[in-house]
């Protein structure tokens, strides 16, 4: 086990607030009586709707088909009847068609009672096909369909496969609980992923506070014939981002606009590995995920296994409800997550957490002029000058902003977090990037 590596410049160390839900074992959330399942839960184009109102569906049945080269299938999380196809607003603000299913029928299809032993023979192509069939996408946030991520062009070398269990966002503990509770399943999932991309080595990246969780996993992986080395990284946000992760683990910097493959690496989130296991070994498509419900305003924070389409409000109710009026409810982690305005918003593949924050946790403020303190520059993990970029964007100096690296910004939120003047840096840079991209498109 190596020492406390981290990425050298930028980033923030802060209280992780994970103690609220760390000790809470994953339990199944209540099945929703009505599931609103969006057809766009992934990066790429919305899935084609395969059902119509009145159709009967079973748990795990495909209700959305891949609609293009970058798309993913969507499956029904519950058995029942399709009541309507309507447009809904997702937590991210995107609009998507959704299939509304009313619960009716039996569940027995995917009770796991030991898994069939696959042996080492399953060929890579079949694994990738099973991923596509199962609608598996990157659950760490990017939502890239996994069959695309693991389809490595022939001849492209993969030096290292990184299993990302860092979970750098505060409050979120879902990935950690997977590490603690499902080591054998994860080990098998890692073995299968390694069969596809054939890396020279496999690294499991963790936060330093999760060191103790990997013994069982390392043993299981060794037994399964694919040894992993685990590295506990310093608790620093955004350590879990693949750019900072690879810099800390192997010292390589992904050039702007490139993927990790450009530096010989593949990074997969540990929840995706679990979904891979379920899809390939249990032949169970992706229709549920672990969601951490936490925050100072929630009475009993917990880690729930939630079926997609469940309204966010019912998760909070299951966790004892709100004990105070929250300042903000966030879908995802508090740094990159989206504000939830409507508690009937459905949980989708990208919702890793539901965090109800109090005013004392948010520390909001109104915007005041920049005082030139330079804190934003100090913490930017991409080495940018956020306030200068924002000023260039606000003064319509687009060319200068692009020159200075506007498109390198990952909207991690470090700059806005530290700003004493509450300058809306991420918001402004996001708008600037959008304007720059549409200007490029016009050209």
């Amino acid at each position: 086990m190596s020492g406390r590596k981290t990425f050298p410049s930028g980033g923030i160390e802060l209280a992780s607030r994970k103690s609220l839900s760390r000790g809470s074992a994953i339990r199944n959330a209540l099945i929703p009586p009505i599931a609103t399942v969006p057809l766009l839960q992934h990066l790429g184009t919305q899935a084609l709707c395969l059902v119509k109102p009145g159709d009967r569906v079973e748990e795990g049945m495909a209700i959305g088909g891949a609609s293009g080269p970058i798309s993913a299938r969507v499956h029904s999380p519950i058995p029942g009847v399709v009541t309507e196809i309507a447009e809904v607003t997702l937590a991210s603000g995107q609009r998507s068609l959704a299939v509304r299913i009313e619960l009716d029928g039996s569940f027995s299809r995917f009770q796991a009672r030991g898994w069939p032993s696959l042996g080492p023979d399953l060929p890579a192509e079949e694994i990738v096909a099973l991923l596509a069939d199962g609608g598996v996408v990157g659950l760490g946030g990017a939502l890239l369909p996994s069959h695309l991520k693991l389809s490595i062009p022939k001849g492209e070398p993969v030096d290292v496969l990184v299993v990302n269990a860092v979970e750098c966002e505060p409050y979120l503990t879902g990935d950690y609980r997977l590490l603690v509770e499902k080591p054998r399943e994860l080990a098998e999932g890692i073995r299968l992923a390694a069969r596809v991309c054939r890396p020279k080595e496999i690294i499991l990246a963790l936060d330093q506070s999760s060191d103790h969780a990997i013994e069982a996993l390392a043993a299981a992986a060794a037994q399964a014939g694919c040894p992993i080395s685990a590295i506990g990284l310093r608790s620093k946000y955004p350590q879990g981002d693949e750019k900072q992760l690879l810099k800390a683990l192997i010292g390589r910097e992904i050039p702007p606009g490139e993927t990790p493959l450009a530096v010989g690496a593949i990074v997969v989130n540990v929840a995706t590995v679990y979904a891979l296991f379920e899809a390939v070994v249990l032949r169970k498509p992706l229709f549920e995920r672990v969601v951490t419900v936490s925050g100072g305003a929630v009475r009993s924070p917990a880690n729930l296994k939630v079926r997609f389409g469940t309204p966010i409000g019912s998760l909070i109710e299951e966790c004892g409800g709100l004990k105070t009026v929250p300042k903000r409810i966030v879908a995802g982690g508090p740094f990159i997550g989206h504000t939830v305005l409507d508690l009937s918003t459905p949980v989708t593949k990208g919702v890793s957490g539901v965090v109800a924050l109090t005013a004392g946790e948010v520390h909001e403020g109104t915007r005041t002029p920049c005082i030139g303190c330079g804190r934003c520059i100090e913490v930017c993990p991409m080495g940018l000058n956020p306030i200068r970029l924002l000023k260039q964007v606000e003064h319509s100096l687009g060319a200068e902003a692009l020159e200075a690296g506007l498109l390198d910004c990952k909207e991690c939120g470090c700059c806005s977090y530290v700003c004493p003047a509450r300058v809306p840096l991420v918001e402004g840079l996001r708008l600037g990037k959008r304007a720059a991209r549409s200007a490029e498109a016009v050209r």
Binding site: D342, H363, T368, C370, C373, I377, L384, Y417
Partner: protein
């Protein structure tokens, strides 16, 4: 249940550090208060009047700017801080039009005309006092003997730096403390007693003049005289991260080294014969290094930039202290380096991740 309409859509990130601009400004003000209270105690009600006039003029100026721009900004504490610093930089006996003019010039011309807080590139308090300093000779005088000098010292004595500068070459002394002693510069009874005790109990031979300078028992500008209280106040600022070590360390370090090497020259004592301790404790060094040079808007934003800035202020400050005609060159050194801050900001920056430079692929 819908929460829509309760507040405008909030964008990520949804967490912030607790610190705000107002806290920073009022925090710095609070840390400055002990030194100012000391000055008012030592120099009497006239000093209080000067500070109050400076404060009122600054606040009035800020209100005016707020009215003109239809956006009131008095609340954020920066105008109050500017007014306070103007008062602190002036001798206690100046005619009252001096702090008023200095504050108004600072707030209206140096800060307001650029668009207010954060847009200005020159420190408004220092620019205001420099403006007054060069406009009226009365702004350069007005020293009052401190309360600690009792019995009263009779003829009016200038502050130590001014006194030393005017008498350096002719005195035959080898250093400023020698000069003060030989010219019969008064010492407070407190420092004499303390010096005696230190000698008797701990065997330390510290000249009483040093103690006077340390505690602030000498004539001087209202907020500058007590490096001890200024330093004590700055502890809170360091601990809360409002200021970092970069500017004070590089400023102090450069200044002290240069003074140590060249400080003996005005006394004809050759190289490496300077008295850095005297210069550390006198004039506005403490106020400059710990407060004014650390002003975020007018100093560079990166750590590297801050080090360069501090070194520049220290070097110019030493030059002006030893060779310039103004007794204390440090505030002038700060505004000279303020001019270079945009240049330093442009030249020092963190390296971009992935080695990006120029327009990346969209």
């Amino acid at each position: 249940m819908s929460l829509a309409g309760s507040e405008p859509l909030a964008i990520s990130p949804h967490l912030h550090r607790e610190i705000t601009t107002a806290r920073i400004m009022w925090g710095v003000t609070a840390c400055l208060l002990p030194a100012g209270l000391w000055g008012v105690w030592q120099f009497g009600p006239r000093a209080l009047l000067v500070v109050l006039v400076a404060l009122l003029a600054a606040l009035a100026g800020e209100l005016l700017v707020g009215l003109l721009r239809s956006r009131p900004t008095v609340r954020d504490g920066s105008a109050f801080l500017t007014g306070l610093l103007v008062g602190y930089l002036l001798p206690p006996g100046v005619p009252l039009y001096v702090p008023a003019a200095a504050s108004l010039f600072g707030i209206l011309v140096v800060k307001g005309s650029f668009g207010g807080l954060g847009n200005n590139w020159m420190n408004p308090a220092i620019a205001g006092t420099v403006f007054a300093f060069f406009s009226w000779s009365a702004a350069r005088r007005g020293w009052i003997a401190p309360l600690a000098w009792s019995p009263p010292a009779g003829a009016s004595w200038a502050e130590p730096l001014a006194f030393v500068k005017s008498a350096a070459l002719t005195s035959g002394a080898h250093g400023p403390i020698e000069l003060l002693a030989s010219a019969g510069y008064p010492v407070s009874r407190f420092s004499q007693a303390l010096g005696g005790w230190l000698h008797g109990a701990l065997g330390l031979g510290i000249d009483a003049h040093y103690l006077d300078l340390l505690f602030g028992c000498v004539p001087g500008s209202i907020g500058e005289v007590s490096p001890l209280l200024l330093g004590a106040g700055s502890v809170y600022l360091f601990r809360t991260g409002i200021i970092t070590w970069h500017v004070p360390a590089s400023l102090g370090g450069t200044f002290l080294v240069l003074v140590a090497v060249f400080g003996g020259l005005p006394y004809g004592a050759g190289f490496f014969a300077g008295n850095p301790v005297f210069h550390l404790l006198s004039g506005s060094l403490a106020l400059s290094a710990l407060y004014m040079a650390c002003d975020p808007a007018t100093s560079p934003m990166t750590a590297k930039g801050k080090l360069i800035f501090g070194a520049g202020v220290g070097a110019l400050g030493a030059l002006l202290r030893l060779c310039g005609s103004a007794p204390d060159g440090l505030p002038l050194a700060i505004i000279l380096m303020n001019i270079a801050t945009p240049l330093i900001n442009g030249l020092t920056g963190p390296g971009r991740f992935g080695g990006g430079s120029g327009r990346p692929r969209a």
